[in-house]
């Protein structure tokens, strides 16, 4: 039985979307270590949020992704917390 490994990522909207895209691309290989990934997106409109996370959703990652618009933490048992933006 796999342990429940959780990762928390905060993504903050800053000026350059291309730079954010490449940071997300760099993140993808490490995501397979986790079962659950909670992402807080800060400063995004709803539509922008969906477009921004799209690279993560088309790469067949094995973890469950839960993406919130704004700050949200359901627990503090994350193995790692990252902030990108």
């Amino acid at each position: 039985m796999r342990s429940n490994r959780k990762l928390h990522i905060t993504i903050i909207k800053k000026g350059n979307p291309d730079s954010l895209n490449s940071k997300l691309e760099e993140l993808i290989p490490m995501l397979s270590k986790y079962n659950h990934i909670v992402i807080n997106m800060q400063g995004f409109k709803c539509g922008e949020l969906l477009e921004t996370i799209r690279p993560l959703t088309i790469r067949n990652i094995s973890a469950t992704l839960i993406v919130h618009n704004g700050k949200y933490e359901d627990s503090d048992d994350y193995e790692e917390k990252l902030i990108i933006g």
Partner: protein, 494 residues
């Protein structure tokens, strides 16, 4: 006053809330725009209204919605599937609207292909947009209704975010939702914040014993027998899911639900029926014979959703199993069954690249031969394949397309339909005029060859397929087929 109030209403537009007159293949018409007849006539053929009870609950509803309904009911949540024409009275009280769809925006195959070829928006997308604009949904949204969308086409919301904003959708759920939906809905009912997007990873898909059993009847008696597929084709998302076989007892309970609702047929569903209880990708007679005998003990009409061509060849070569199963299913010498199969390409080279295990246990290099032999086997036992081809996959060459064209020609003697699917790379969707992209000359030649093949066989098939249908639908459909043939000849397409 309503006799029952539901906290969660599950629904979808008419293109899916229908039984297609009991003829699954007519459902394909709902993926295209109306051709040569007005939209209302097209929809009357493809997607008639379903019977509902006195408060608007459909007797038959899409299986995916039934599974979500079952998961919520099992968790003690008051939920029901409601017909789209009866939403108003229920949305006044409901706190959550759940929607599941096969193709919200007509971006999937074959809708996208019809859109490209005709330049007209298919009816599934038109009707879904009208559904979301219904005054009763808008009013409920303004009063705080939470909207959760999912189903096989959930991914499309990430490419159409403007609609997500416009209609105030709260959450997109991508993947098998039976486990995650309960906590999402509980949070919604408690007024807690919802995530905007959930992707269900492999640890959160239900184990077979966690899959809820439907509580109310599914469209045309569809029952799932397994989930996932071991073949690993590069173009297919089903293969990413773990493989799970339902035990016969679970299947029987769902057959009973449909029987008790008064349905007269069942449709056995999986990505590959013949792999039920299989040894890897090698079909085994015992579980398949038990499954079919059980289904037949409840229903006179038993249909298949999908089989793989390599499994057809293996099962027949080793056990004469296709003959044995057809003897169980077919009622008499004039009976046929239809089934979806994937040819995808006639090129061994492309088959090796994009679907190396689709031919297994045979070599991908022998793919065209497998297709020919399995079509021949099915022709002999009156199983009619409705086959798909995929055009435009990355790496496809003119040589690959010529081989596909040659294979279509070799399939002419076998009773079948062949539908080319136009692969739309997701990147193209960034361009808002993606649907104006034109197919190459070779792709067009393949489309013409398919049209010629289909018109040749469709008149023969119509005698069987339409024999029990109401006269209006039979007449309308024959008229459409005849008009398509005339126009195709006029433009020298066939």
């Amino acid at each position: 006053m309503l006799s029952e109030r539901f906290d969660v209403v599950l629904s979808v537009d008419r293109t899916l809330m229908t039984n297609h007159h009991g003829k699954e293949f007519l459902g394909f018409m709902a993926t295209g725009p109306p051709v040569m007849v007005p939209e209302r006539v097209w929809m009357a053929i493809a997607a008639p209204k379903v019977k509902v009870d006195d408060i608007g609950r459909p007797v038959e509803a899409p299986y995916g919605l039934r599974k979500i309904e079952a998961a919520l009911l099992d968790a003690g949540i008051k939920a029901a599937v409601i017909d789209p024409d009866h939403l108003g009275k229920h949305l006044k009280n409901a706190k959550v609207l759940g929607i599941g769809h096969h193709d919200y925006f007509a971006l999937g195959p074959p809708s996208s292909e019809w859109w490209v070829l005709t330049g007209k928006e298919p009816v599934n997308s038109r009707y879904f947009k009208r559904f979301m604009e219904k005054p009763e949904i808008r009013a409920a949204k303004n009063n705080g209704l939470r909207i959760i969308v999912g189903g096989p086409a959930a991914w499309q919301w990430l490419w159409m975010p403007e609609y997500f904003e416009k209609w105030g959708v709260d959450t997109v759920v991508e993947g098998e939702a039976e486990k995650v939906i309960v906590s999402l809905v509980k949070n919604a009912l408690d007024g807690k914040p919802l995530p905007q997007y959930v992707y269900v990873g492999i640890n959160d898909v239900p184990q077979v014993e966690e899959i809820p059993l439907i509580k109310n009847a599914s469209v045309n008696g569809l029952v799932e027998i397994m989930r996932g597929c071991p073949r690993g084709c590069r173009f297919c998302s089903v293969t990413l899911r773990p493989l799970r076989h339902y035990p016969l007892e679970m299947i029987e309970k769902e057959l009973q639900v449909n029987k008790n609702a008064g349905l007269d047929r069942c449709l056995i569903h999986s990505e590959d029926i013949l792999l039920y209880g299989a040894n890897g990708i090698k079909p085994r007679p015992e579980p398949l014979i038990k499954l079919h005998e059980m289904a037949r003990s409840y229903f006179n009409i038993v249909g298949w959703s999908h089989v793989s061509l390599s499994a057809v060849k293996y099962a027949q070569e080793n056990y004469s199993l296709i003959s044995r199963l057809s003897e169980i299913i077919l009622r008499d010498d004039n009976d046929f069954i239809g089934v979806e199969v994937g040819i995808e390409t006639g090129s061994p080279e492309l088959a090796e690249k994009m679907m190396p295990a689709k031919a297994a246990p045979y070599s991908a290099r022998s793919w065209p031969e497998i297709v020919r032999e399995s079509f021949s086997i099915m022709h002999d036992v009156r199983i009619v394949p409705a086959a798909t081809l995929i055009l435009g996959v990355p790496g496809e060459t003119s040589r690959d397309l010529v081989k596909t064209l040659e294979l279509i020609d070799e399939l002419k003697p076998f009773r079948s339909l062949i539908v080319p699917m136009y692969f739309v790379p997701m990147g193209v969707l960034k361009n808002k005029e993606w649907y104006k992209a034109k197919p190459s000359e070779e792709q067009l030649e393949i489309m013409k060859a398919c049209l010629k093949h289909d018109i040749y066989w469709i008149k023969d098939l119509a005698k069987w397929y339409l024999k029990d249908m109401n006269p209006f639908v039979k007449y309308s459909l024959k008229t459409v087929i005849s008009l398509v043939e005339k126009v195709a000849k006029l433009f020298r397409l066939i």
